[in-house]
Structures are given as C-alpha cells and as structure tokens.
Symmetry: C2
Subunit: 333 residues, 2 copies
C-alpha cells in the first residue's frame, strides 16, 4: 500500500516519536550498526508508524551525493537503444541509483545544453551513448569531474571507460565467412553519416577483403526506411553482389524486401549478414543472419562499471569488451 499522506513527516517527527535526536535517526538509516540495537528498534518502529521516507533532495544536499546518474542517448526509439536502457535501469535499480534520461536527437546544440543541465542537476555519474562521437566530445568528457562511461562505443585512445563489443573483429569474421565460402563480390552497406562505430565496422570488413586481395566495395544509404528501400530497389536493378554485410538489421530488411521485389533469391543469389540481432531479424522473411550485439548486457555492464567508478572501487580494466556472436539464419546458406 502506498502511504502518501498529505502531512509530510520529517526526520524530526521520527526523532521525537522515538525520543532520540535526529542524528540518531539519520544513523539508523545510514549506519545501522552504529546505534544500539534497542534504540535502533525503537527508531525503526517510529519510522514505520509514521510512514517516514527520507527526502531524497535534502539528503542529496547534505551529503553532496545525489545517487542519481544521467543516461544520455541520441534517440530512444531505436530498438537497440531501448534495450540498452533496460539494461542500465535494471542495474541502476539494484544499486539504488535513480536515472535521469536525456535525449539529444543527435543535435549538437541540444547535446551541449544537456551536458550543462546534467551538471546542474548534480548527478554522480553519466552513461553516454553516442554513435557519432567526435573529437570535441571526447575532450568535453575528459574535462568532466564526474565519472562517465561510454556505452556501445569505443574511443581509440581508451582514455574513457567504455563497454562494447569488438566491432572490427565482428565484421572481420562476418566478411571472412563469405570469403571462405568463395564469394568474391562482397558488398558492405553502411550509412552516410559519420557514425564513428560504423567506421570500425568498415575497418573490419576492409581488413578481411584486403587480406585476400579483394577490392572493397562500399555503398552508403540512409537509416530511414523511405530512403533506403527505394535505394536498394534501384541499386539491385543494376548491381548483383553475391553477398552483403549490412551495418544494421533494419537496413538489411529493406535490402531483403527490395531483392524479393526484384525476384532476386535470398540467400541463393544474394547472401546477407546484418548487425544487432534485433526482433527484426526474426520477423523478416527470410529471417536474417545477424551479428548479435548483446546490447542489454552492454547497458547493464556499463551501469555496473559506473557504480564502481562512482565509489572509487579498484577496477582491473575500464575498457570492457563483451563477446559477440553470429546468429545464423535463413539469409545465408
């Protein structure tokens, strides 16, 4: 039962009810073993009787800790972002942190404002998801006094704590799997905007291709359905790649649908490996082979890492690399 009476009961009320000083009440809340069991019991009873809940704001002011973290993301409606948020929130809850959600919409000015707001709100830590991490973002973060964890992104210098898979290795493996099957004409489908993460994916693809003397073939489209579907319809009319590696599931679905529209059989005439292993990959027909990016875990581990940083716990490695995994489905033979 929720006990949200109009009359706000403060620590003073509890103190007088239990006939102790407010300091003692505070102690039973924060350091229970510093108070004699008998009085502790009495205070606990008073708390219960009055339905006392400590005011988190006053607490934050006095202790100079807010037990609040900010989660900064570009957009919640991307399936992968949403799943990551679930991971962050579950762990935050376990460690009694409140999470403030901030959405940048990938707009630079908004992003700057948000960092300002976040500092004003006195958060104890920040989890930052930004596909398009730029040099100036990194500089900003380095100047920050509260701990920051980069989520699902890596930064070359390994200067900032981060949690992600090894993108380069994952795409290298995917490409290699096609090469090992004897494919020569392997297309890499990426996005136009400069996602720093897509650069890593691209690097893995290129490495595998160049290693065996094949010419990389990269094509760029949009993440938006209304753009990429017509694009593929057009592209596949004149180009017949044997295989394709695609940076996102949703884009791969458009490619499959376009191929099917043009009578190109997937996987017999065109094999596809996508990335992220979202619901889309199970819902498309044929189902989609996809590199599994354990995004819930990435969120969860990021939050756990952040708690360690906030409490100055010793950390063996602040750049966590989680294992990836290719899930084979019907878009490959």
């Amino acid at each position: 039962m929720i006990d949200n009476k109009n009359t706000k009961v403060t620590i003073y009320d509890v103190a007088s009810e239990a006939d102790v000083s407010l300091a003692t009440v505070s102690r039973v809340l924060n350091y229970p073993d510093k108070v004699k069991p008998a009085t502790r019991e009495r205070v606990l009873e008073a708390i219960n009787k009055l339905g006392y809940r400590p005011n988190a704001i006053a607490r934050g002011l006095a202790s100079r800790k807010s037990t609040t973290v900010a989660l900064i993301v570009p957009d919640v409606s991307r399936a992968s972002v949403a799943e990551m948020i679930n991971g962050v929130i579950d762990i935050a809850r376990k460690y009694d942190y409140t999470v403030i959600l901030k959405v940048t919409n990938s707009e630079v000015e908004v992003e700057d404002e948000i960092w300002q707001e976040v500092f004003a709100s006195q958060v104890d830590g920040i989890i930052y998801l930004n596909d398009e991490l730029q040099e100036h973002n990194i500089k900003q973060i380095m100047e920050t006094t509260v701990p920051v964890v980069l989520c699902n992104v890596r930064e070359e210098g390994n200067l900032i704590p981060s949690v992600s898979i090894d993108f380069e290795a994952a795409f290298y493996e995917a490409t290699k799997s096609f090469i090992d099957k004897g494919k020569k004409d392997i297309l890499f489908v990426s996005t136009r905007s400069a996602y720093s993460v897509n650069t890593l994916k691209e690097r893995g693809y290129k490495k595998a291709m160049e290693e065996v003397g094949l010419e990389p073939n990269i094509v760029r489209t949009s993440g938006r359905l209304v753009v990429n579907y017509p694009f593929f319809l057009d592209y596949l009319k004149t180009n017949k790649p044997e295989a394709a590696i695609v940076v996102r599931d949703s884009i791969a679905v458009s490619m499959i649908n376009a191929a099917s529209e043009l009578g190109i059989n997937v996987p017999n005439e065109l094999e596809i490996i996508a990335f992220q292993n979202t619901k889309y990959s199970k819902m498309s027909r044929p189902t989609l082979t996809s590199i599994d990016n354990p995004i819930y875990d990435i969120g969860a581990v990021s939050m756990r890492l952040l708690t360690k940083l906030m409490n100055n716990e010793p950390i063996d490695n602040v750049n966590v690399v989680l294992p990836h995994n290719i899930i084979w489905r019907k878009s490959t033979t």
Copy 2:
C-alpha cells in the same frame, strides 16, 4: 564549451563578484524583472564570468519543487513505449523539467517499490503508462498528492487525467470495414494477459459484430514471438478466417508470416488489420494495414497536460482523446 571546473561556484561567489547580496542573485535567476536592469546586468556578467550554474538540488530543497517528473513504464523496449518516451522527453525539455525513468517490468512488487521511491525523490508529477491498470492502481493514484497523468490508457471513471485514442471506436471502425466488405468470419486476435486496454479494443470489435448479428470469435496468444508464431502455424492449419483484427503489429507480423508459410494468401484469402502502425507494419511483406495510434503525440500531450496540472493552470478537459486513423496497406484489399 562545457565549463565544468573542479571549483564549485556558488551563489555566494556570484554575489560577491557582482557586489550584491545572494538574494539579488537569486532574483535575477528567478524573477529578472524584479531587479534593476543595471544590477541585473552586473549579476549576469558575474554569472557568466564565473560559469555559475545553480545547484538544482539546493534549489529543490529551498523551493520545495524539484522540476522533476517521473515517467513510469512497463518496459522500454516495446516500440510503442519507446516512441512515447520520446514525446514525453521532448516536451519535458521544452518546459525545463527533468525526467526520471522508472521501469516496472510489469511486476507488482517492483511497481509498489517504484511508487515509494518516486515519492521519496520529491517529483512534481508522474506520467504513468500501464497497460494492465488494475482497480488497486487506480486507488493508489487517487490517494496521491502529486498530479498523475495516465498515458495511452483510459480509466472508465474518467477520474484520473489521461491521454489516449478512443480504442473502442477505432476497433469498431476496423471491424465495421470488414463487415461492410461482406466478411462474416472475422477473427479478433488478442493477448492472454488482462491488458485493460485490450478489453476496450475487444469491446469495439464485439459491438460491431453483435450489431449485425455476427458471432464474435476471439483467440488469445502471447506477445512473444517464440510463442505466437507456432501458435498461428497451428491455428491457421485448421481454421480459415476470412479476416482478422489484431491488437498489436508485431503479433500481426507473426500471423502474416505463418499464413505465408502455410500458403495462405494475404490479403486474398485472409485480410488483416493490426494496431499501432509501428515500423513493423512497413517492413513486413505484405505491408500491414494498421490503426495508427499517435503514440509520440500521446506522450507529448501527456507531458503538456502534466505541466498544466503541476502549475494549477485551468484545464478544460483532463481526459484527452486524440484522433486515430487507419493506414491502409497491402494486408487488406
């Protein structure tokens, strides 16, 4: 440029820099026109020079307002929930509210804890999305002293402010459209768990059916892909409905895929209307006719309504009904 120096500058620093009292600094921040332009200017300069940002926590304590709202949802990874969150956050930002995100995972004990936490954190308002709203939830909300807005849900009594479409009307129309085409065997596909909203949808369907003397035919499955796909494969082997109304896009996609697997032609042998108009409806083949639930707007309007409630602004109608719309695609003729 983010200015997050180690040295925390307080209102006192600004006051002495500008050679005024801290009260004056506070006033230029909160009631600028209550201070003489000249001194206001001086204070603003000092603020700028020192990079002062008022401490939101101290502010919250002194003013007894946190300018924070809690957004309570069952699960962020549902496409519709994520889109709604975007709406809430965009408007919250516009009105300078911070949003705390809480996820219940539809677990009752967690839900209770979360309400407790939310009160402890002194939020000024709550946006509550709960598909499975029960009688006791409503009672809880009624006892609450901070304003609450129900988002994407309606509650029969209209006792609590809410924003949603008219579910009953939407499903009545969808059903009617099949009836008008001469369909007799119209299936309603719902979920097993007692979503209060699905009850409303069902009511609209039943009303249309019974109005013309047709027997309602309702089948219940799960929202989970691994359950509902085999379910449809099995169901459609022995049952051949002419048309189906489905409570969620994702479930409809499974139905389409199962039909296609069994060689049942959609829409010629089976027409389908789904609900929500998510990305899924554009990505499935055939594309899915779907009732558009303007979920981003629902989030945005909910937040706007909440700001009014928090500021005690006069409100004409606290139960907002947004227009819906059927988007016709290839799963119907």
